[in-house]
């Protein structure tokens, strides 16, 4: 799996992974706020959010129609749609793309559900690897408590109830999350996850995240207002426009 940089994309992709309740969404949100404030071209994409596929996924979940295979395929379809319609064009245009969950979520979850690892990885093999993957590792109890604190009603698939691990959704959720964590940790080295201690305070983690990102990526290259090179004919036009604008201001 080559990264976007290795595949000569001008943009860079940063992904966060971790269990529900690991605090990864908060961290990537804060990262996005910072990059925007720095004037960087940034785009955020969330797992399971394609406009095209979302209604089918939520119908499947609500009516409990999904099997491990269709669960895997419908999420792959969702990912492919975001990948082809948003991620690839933005990365070609030199954006920093932030992904709250990437293919590793599927690798961990679908395999926990019983799908063969080679099959799942093969299905996602059209995607490049992130240029940086941060894995937010909290103690299992910490993640579970964050989610279960208010005793929310856990959804069927979220709790892994389809795996028939336990008739009690809370018990099922705990076992399911534990198994997903095992899957994540088993692939951590292979996919070069940078592990962030998610038991730390939000601010402490964010300092680490920002430092990591600025060490790994030459951020000034991704600032807005640094137009990409255009083909000669168009470049000529743009120069005209700029000259005209300058005339106005003068």
């Amino acid at each position: 799996m080559k990264t976007f940089a290795e595949s000569k994309f001008p943009g860079r992709l940063i992904a966060v992974e971790g269990l529900d309740g690991s605090g990864k969404s908060t961290q990537i949100y804060l990262l996005k706020r910072w990059l925007e404030a720095e004037g960087i071209k940034v785009y955020f994409s969330e797992w399971n959010s394609s406009e095209l596929v979302k209604s089918a996924t939520s119908k499947g979940k609500k009516r409990e129609l999904l099997t491990p295979t269709t669960f895997s395929l419908i999420h792959a379809t969702d990912f492919a749609d975001r990948y082809e319609r948003h991620l690839v064009p933005l990365l070609r245009a030199g954006y920093i793309v932030l992904c709250d969950r990437y293919v590793f979520t599927a690798f961990a979850r679908d395999v926990t559900r019983g799908c063969p690892p080679d099959w799942v990885r093969g299905n996602y093999s059209f995607a490049c690897a992130p240029d940086l993957t941060m894995f937010f590792k909290a103690d299992l109890d910490v993640s579970l408590n964050r989610i279960l604190e208010g005793r929310p009603k856990l959804k069927f698939f979220e709790a892994g109830m389809d795996l028939r691990l336990s008739n009690d959704p809370y018990e099922s959720f705990k076992i399911f999350q534990g198994r997903i964590l095992d899957q994540y940790l088993a692939m951590s080295k292979e996919f070069k996850f940078v592990i962030i201690d998610a038991n730390e305070a939000v601010e402490v983690q964010q300092v680490i995240v920002r430092k990591l990102v600025s060490d790994r990526i030459d951020l000034k290259k991704f600032k807005r207002r640094s137009p990409l090179p255009l083909p000669p004919t168009l470049r000529h036009k743009r120069e005209e426009v700029i000259e005209r604008d300058e005339d106005k201001t003068a």
Binding site: L52, V53, L65, T69, T77, E84, D118
Partner: protein, 230 residues
Amino acid sequence: MKKPHRFYGHGIPHVNSADLGGKLIVVEGADGSGRSTQIAELVNWLETSGHATVQVGLKRSTLVSEELERAQEGNVLSRTTLALFYATDFADQLENLILPALKSGFIVLADRYIYTLMARDMVRGMDEAWLKNLYGIAPEPDAVFYLSVEPEELVQRNLSKTATLDYWESGMDLGFSRDLFDSFLKYQTAMGDAFRELEKTYKFNIVDANRSVSSVTKELRKKITALLAE
């Protein structure tokens, strides 16, 4: 009907192919090849002879058929998304209809199967090895009949039926030509080539469907009778 089925690849988690009895019969071919007519004919004949049947086809799943239809109307599907969307539709019918029916000893008639999906994706530049992995979930059919019709004849049949050519069946998303007629011919020729490529791996019974409906029916019945006697 004891011959066990097997999956092309990894199969479906928690499903043992040895539990699958029945027969899986696939009819492949372009729009206008007479597929639906022949399947209706076969169902009628098989049920009259005392066989229980189940029919499946493309874009008929409870899970995603409506969403897929809507996405196709908007022409916003890129090739990987199109491939995976159809694979989801197939998998949903596989698990909810095909596998339970085979377990109960039914004859399943598939109005198109993974081969059309693979051929379409190959024409759009998807990698064959990628497709083979994806469709490793599919059980190997007992027979695949490919109704072969020349593209020129397909044009005539489609036009006489609907007075137009379908956007996707003409491969208009591929940009072969802005002209629907030209694009249809080029696309159907490319699809024929893709099927010939797939034939190297998968066993197809090629049926000359340029002929009359009744002579095609006769040939299909003869072959299926032999299959059921095995």
